[in-house]
Symmetry: C2
Subunit: 333 residues, 2 copies
Amino acid sequence: MADVARHAGVALGTVSNVINNPAKVAEGTRLRVLDSIAALGFVRNNLARSLAAGSANTLGFVIVDIGNSLFVDIARGAQKAAGERDMKLLLANSDVDLDSQNEYLDLFDEARVSGILLAPLDAPLDGAAKVRSHGRAVVLVNWPGEPGESCGVVVDEELGGYLATRHLLDSGRSRLLFAGGPLTLHAVEQRYAGARRAVDESGGAATLELLETDRLTVPAGLRVGHEIAGRSVDDRPDGIFASADALASGCVQALIYGGINVPADIAVIGYDNNHFAADSVVPISTVGQPGIEMGRIAAELLLEETDPSQPHSHRTVVTEPSLIVRASTKPAG
Amino acid sequence: MADVARHAGVALGTVSNVINNPAKVAEGTRLRVLDSIAALGFVRNNLARSLAAGSANTLGFVIVDIGNSLFVDIARGAQKAAGERDMKLLLANSDVDLDSQNEYLDLFDEARVSGILLAPLDAPLDGAAKVRSHGRAVVLVNWPGEPGESCGVVVDEELGGYLATRHLLDSGRSRLLFAGGPLTLHAVEQRYAGARRAVDESGGAATLELLETDRLTVPAGLRVGHEIAGRSVDDRPDGIFASADALASGCVQALIYGGINVPADIAVIGYDNNHFAADSVVPISTVGQPGIEMGRIAAELLLEETDPSQPHSHRTVVTEPSLIVRASTKPAG
DNA sequence: CTGTTAGCGCCTTCAT
DNA sequence: ATGAAGGCGCTAACAG
């Protein structure tokens, strides 16, 4: 930086101003300094900048599973929101491993990032608490904030379950089946609760069978589909709500394989709006989480919490999922 | 850090040594300092550390598409290799956007990371050249290194195409069809060349039809499958090499939908070892890239280039894909 | 093995 | 609008 100053024939402080407070320096000088910067291939040392300034222009995002498209969408949304405030977003993949998650939390802590976004795995949040105790803001993503401790962004899973089921009912289906599990998973349980509510509202006009699976994968869905295809026609549902697209995809494939027509015989709706759903012989209706929006909101909450000039109270924002109708639930008949 | 020193009743330099050169300090003192660190919730400021030490313990990885499982695998491998040398790996998603890619390159440059891994998009590598001109090492991933300029790690696509086709031939198929495109994509063209080679080696016992697609997606695969299902039986191939699993998945779905038996009537093999292939009614054979290994190699090349105590000459490491046999190519008959 | 000291590169008052 | 000086928190090299 001193080199640049010498090259441009100005003082070191002026170069600093050209970079950080362009308005404070005369047009001519500014241009001359800029030229020197280019000529010398100068790159501001962010380490020193952040050290001296006491704050970084970077946000960290620790992701539980980078293979999951929802989190990729969230990252995109957060990236965009951060970019609008001239902040950069760095990612770290904890890979569904608690130790790894805590390590990356520490890494961002040591790197003095401005704030941290955390999509946690279903485990104690000690690591986050530790980072927070150092005064670094942590916003939970796809996880409720801890009351009075941190912000969070979640999706209303119950509503999603309701929407999916309501849609099956509206399409003229009445013998419904909910597939998914294990029910100990909060999201699955909530989606089932929503399904339950929709059916209860129908006042006895519809039934809901529960078929719990051990996982939410394509193979599990294949098993579900095969099981149903093996039933006598009368015992089959006419509408299936698979609580994840992977499950729905397997289910649809196995049903078709078994000679059952989707959606004429059985309508199927999934959940998550993964590529699984769209990329199927029979495109599968689904419920989508607003990943990009979630990321944007999370980043904004974090930026707000980080900004000392702004009052901030911790809160959990609940976003709404939305119904995406495709061929797999076209009305019966 | 001064606080810790005071609390432990030692000098500031000792605290530094406890953290960085534990061997250089007496056991008792070390423990006492460690206690103080815990008691005070001290977190070493990595910015200051890197600034003072002149080098960071962090690697950056700019990824073209974080939604692609190959890159996720590569990230895992790189993460592991880096971890073994006490280095951390930070990720950035350029999202198939050149500007974004260059921005993240600059970000890592400013952050003075120890080195950068770049899985580039198919576009000029100016950004990488710029960073390199600042003396920061860049290793190209899934892209050949620029001779004399940088290292790279790639997969032998031609070999992969050969393996897939060889496997179809070995399974007793002879009327082969290669689906994929556009052929302007380097990887597709190479895979086709490998297929060509395998068929040529058969000495006229087999034929290879080329069906170029405009994309490598499930919908494109569906179109391929529907097209083939629409042919008269005699005109159909008995073995299909789809140059991507997404394509193969769509193809298999459409064939089954059209009443064709896979693999009895037509064997299908994909490429990439994505979940698409495994998660299919008929599990699809495929060719897998050694993502984890690629990541590990890339990180090691980078670390070697970064280490001034070691001689280094730029090179491109070519890794070998491997055949993964599943149900979709079980021998005819 | 311990304590002291001089920067790492930059930002930010402060005077000019 | 500009130049000079102090310090951000830490490491490394030195003298004890």
